[in-house]
């Protein structure tokens, strides 16, 4: 029974998925920085334009986007520390999996705390 010969995914373990996550969050952060540099540079055009553009961000869609952005940055930051530890700490490669779980636990705590605060402001009406 010949079926479609699509390429199949390599079933890597924690190390591979943390790398995929690091890449994706890296690209997300890059595009944010691109937009961020552009909107901030608007202040050179005129402060009024800058204020109106920044004001346009104050809606629930952007609020959710900001939440996603912070989630991406927090993962990228803590996983970055893990990668540094893998490269520079002698036992780093041995404990990479445990360090990934630590990263994810810290990530959940930080993102949950931020989410409660941020989303209550975004959807709280003031």
């Amino acid at each position: 029974m010949p079926t479609k010969p699509a390429g199949t995914l390599y079933r890597g373990r924690e190390g591979m998925w943390s790398w995929v996550g690091h890449r994706i969050t890296g690209v997300v952060i890059f595009f944010f920085l691109l937009v961020h540099v552009l909107d901030t540079s608007l202040v050179r055009v005129s402060p009024e334009v800058y204020t109106s553009v920044i004001g346009a961000y104050k809606n629930p869609v952007m609020g959710l986007g900001e939440f996603g952005l912070v989630a991406a940055i927090v993962f990228h930051a803590f996983n970055g520390l893990r990668i540094i530890a893998i490269d520079f700490w002698k036992s780093g490669p041995k404990y990479q999996r445990q360090m990934l779980w630590a990263v994810l636990i810290v990530w959940v705590i930080v993102v949950a705390a931020f989410g409660v605060r941020h989303l209550s402001i975004v959807f709280g009406g003031h």
Binding site: M1, P2, P5, T8, Y10, R13, G15, M16, K94, Q96
Partner: protein, 260 residues
């Protein structure tokens, strides 16, 4: 005159049922193999084979059964069939393994067992890939002892501690399971790859070898150790249990810390 010698009684008492060559449990499996034959079609295709196998059989035995009894055109490499020669690395259920070290009973036999060639090297036919790019990188790191000065009249002495330093990386069988599990290698075939770095590590940290600096210089290339993104697929894939990512990290450290 021949005397019938009575067989001496066994000195080991076996529990009944043990050692009697009891029935080995058998089960049915479906093997889904990614086939490719450029003489027939430029496109690869999946082929399925139904087999009755035994609890002692490995994926390699299933492939043999297909080749010998069902479809002689199925092509794969194997030599020793006992996990030493490194010929039969392939992707089994999405992970790089040696077919001769993967018991069927350890896999989920309720679903088809998916067998594909290793990634990142050009497929020649079915499960056979062109290993030349892999061996090219291996040759470039000079995988042989290079020593300065006069040949010693005795063997080159080494302490147990000095030997222990590179013991892990002596285990490599060059099966390419690590290199072909590396996402960096899939997209950048110029990357030396884990196996070449492991074999460089074996000589860099050998106290008898004098060309460590040369090898570090080779691996300091932009396609050298710095391409490693610590994905750990290589460490998970190695059938010999070599801590590949750790070895690569040690080579990175050696490059950073060496005296210029």
């Amino acid at each position: 005159m021949t005397t019938e010698m009575a067989e001496p009684a066994s000195r080991i008492d076996l529990a009944p049922g043990i050692g009697g060559g009891g029935e080995i449990p058998s089960f049915d499996i479906t093997l889904r193999v990614r086939r490719y034959n450029p003489e027939v079609s430029a496109e690869p295709a999946w082929d399925e084979f139904s087999l009755t196998m035994y609890g002692t059989d490995r994926v390699l035995d299933a492939l043999h059964k297909v080749k010998w009894e069902q479809d002689g055109t199925l092509s794969f490499r194997r030599s020793c069939a006992h996990g030493v020669c490194g010929s039969d690395a392939m992707r089994i259920n999405g992970r790089n393994r040696l077919a001769c070290k993967t018991l069927l009973k350890d896999l989920d036999t309720s679903k088809p067992i998916i067998v594909e060639p290793i990634k990142g090297l050009p497929v020649e036919k079915d499960l056979i890939v062109d290993m030349e790019p892999f061996f090219q990188s291996y040759r470039e790191i000079m995988p042989f002892l290079i020593s300065k000065g006069h040949e010693p009249t005795k063997e080159r002495l080494q302490s147990a501690e000095e030997r222990e330093r590179f013991d892990d990386t002596t285990k490599c069988i060059l099966c390419a399971a690590c290199t072909s599990s590396c996402p960096v290698f899939w997209t950048d075939g110029q990357y030396f790859g884990p196996a070449a770095i492991v074999n460089a590590h074996r000589f860099i940290f050998d106290s008898r070898d004098d060309a460590g600096d040369m090898r570090l210089e080779i691996l300091n290339d932009k396609e050298g150790v710095w391409r490693c993104r610590t994905v750990f697929n290589c460490t998970d894939a190695c059938p010999r249990g070599i801590q590949v990512t750790k070895a690569i990290s040690e080579v990175k450290q050696a490059i950073l810390n060496r005296k210029i």
